[in-house]
Amino acid sequence: MTDYSIWVLEYSYVPDYALSSIIYGAHNRGTKRLPYSYVLIKGRGHLAMVDVGYNDKGWGKTFAQSLNVHGWRDPKEVLSRIGVSPEDVDTVLLSHLHFDHAGNLESFPNASVYVQERELVKNVWAMSLPSRLSFLSHGTDPGDVIKCVELGREGRLRLLDGDQQDVLPGIDIYGAFDTHSFGSMYVVIRNDGIRNSNDTWVLSGDLVYVYENMGGDGSAKPVEGARYTPVGFAIASHANLILTTERIVEAAGGDLRRVVPVHEDRLQEHFPTRTWKDGLRITEICLADGEVSKIS
């Protein structure tokens, strides 16, 4: 029995991202395509997103133009490609508050939003520091903190304190504090619904960008002798990132293809994928019982 369907939906991409920014220390090794994506989960009566991307209005457009971000599409258009609308989404799980993951909450007017309390509190703390320390807070848009005030008033903000099992039936949250951000988290889907699942998927947020961060090359198993290498950016501790990578790989039962990194360009090599005319892709990670493929 498979409870949930999972799709990775690209909403923009950078064609020539420096590898050193994706894999720590990989200097002078060229560039690669870096997709920007969120994940849609459908099943057990729920439609859930992991992250919501950013909004291309105002400074977002300036940012995209200056950094060679291509093909940005609104969630309404992206989600319509698999036959759903943002209004149908009832749950948003924010892996962290960086603007390219949490910057489009207004597009999901009916969703309850889950975020680690530590992520929110520490970002507010960072914003309270003198301007010369703004590096610590500049990945988060204060507009998204302001949006959380509105969510609180509407009763749609759910603050988490670390790990939480069954945030939706069969879907667990794990805190990964002081890693890529102050209060990151990753999502584990037990797709057979049982506690000791044999059918888990791990949605890694920005804790893993690509297979190489887990010592892999796209194969199911790590490359022999390879070691974990952290992602190119951590506001806090690389040590915590490496230890979190171990937890993520363990949660996936050692099968690296059971980890779904949303910035990994090679998902298309391992899962059914459709590329749209604008260059954006939809990757179908798995289908729930009775669900029809959206990419064929």
């Binding site: 400074w59 300036t62 703004s134 988060t140 848009d141 507009g143 302001i146 005030v149 190119g232």
Partner: protein
């Protein structure tokens, strides 16, 4: 002594360069004003996060413990007041009056929001319901700052180099100009 003389000659070269770059005191003053305004932009950006955080904490706090909320509101008011004074002092020399005016409007609205939250905490204040009326000026202040956001002014709402691995891409974009 050798060190000192090398140092002196380095300073001399720097001063020569400065004279070359800044053709007049006016130009130097304008640059100074721009830096001061940029500093206030970043300070106000943080103040908005702070006052929003105060409202979030307000909602989750028990009536007896608002010490953190009060501290956050006080810091927001201090920043708004300081920004208004500094921005008023430098507006005439700003390279972009529109940008300076946006910051002034944001500072004023941020101060208004902080005052509303502070007054809601008084014995006869309106409590959370009144405090959350500050949401409107906070949103308006944010809109002014967001509208003025631009990497080239040294003022941005977010920085790609502080989140999803963007440093090198920033470099590429700079190099391609």
């Amino acid at each position: 002594m050798l060190v000192c003389s090398t140092f002196s000659s380095s300073i001399g070269r720097l001063l020569d360069s400065a004279e070359f770059i800044f053709n007049s005191d006016d130009e130097l003053n304008r640059l100074s004003a721009q830096l001061a305004i940029s500093e206030q932009y970043t300070s106000l950006r943080g103040a908005l996060g702070l006052i929003a955080g105060a409202l979030l904490l307000y909602r989750s706090s028990r009536r007896s413990d608002f010490s953190y909320v009060i501290a956050m509101v006080q810091e927001t008011e201090r920043r708004a007041k300081a920004s208004l004074e500094i921005l008023a002092d430098h507006r005439e020399l700003a390279t972009s009056a529109r940008f300076a005016d946006a910051c002034i409007a944001a500072a004023s609205l941020t101060g208004t929001a902080a005052k509303m939250v502070r007054e809601s905490l008084l014995v006869n204040g309106g409590g959370l319901e009144q405090a959350e009326l500050a949401y409107r000026p906070i949103k308006e202040a944010y809109a002014f700052l967001a509208g003025a956001s631009g990497e080239h002014d040294g003022c941005s709402m977010v920085s790609f180099s502080s989140c999803c691995c963007g440093q090198a891409v920033v470099g590429q974009a700079e190099l391609s100009r």
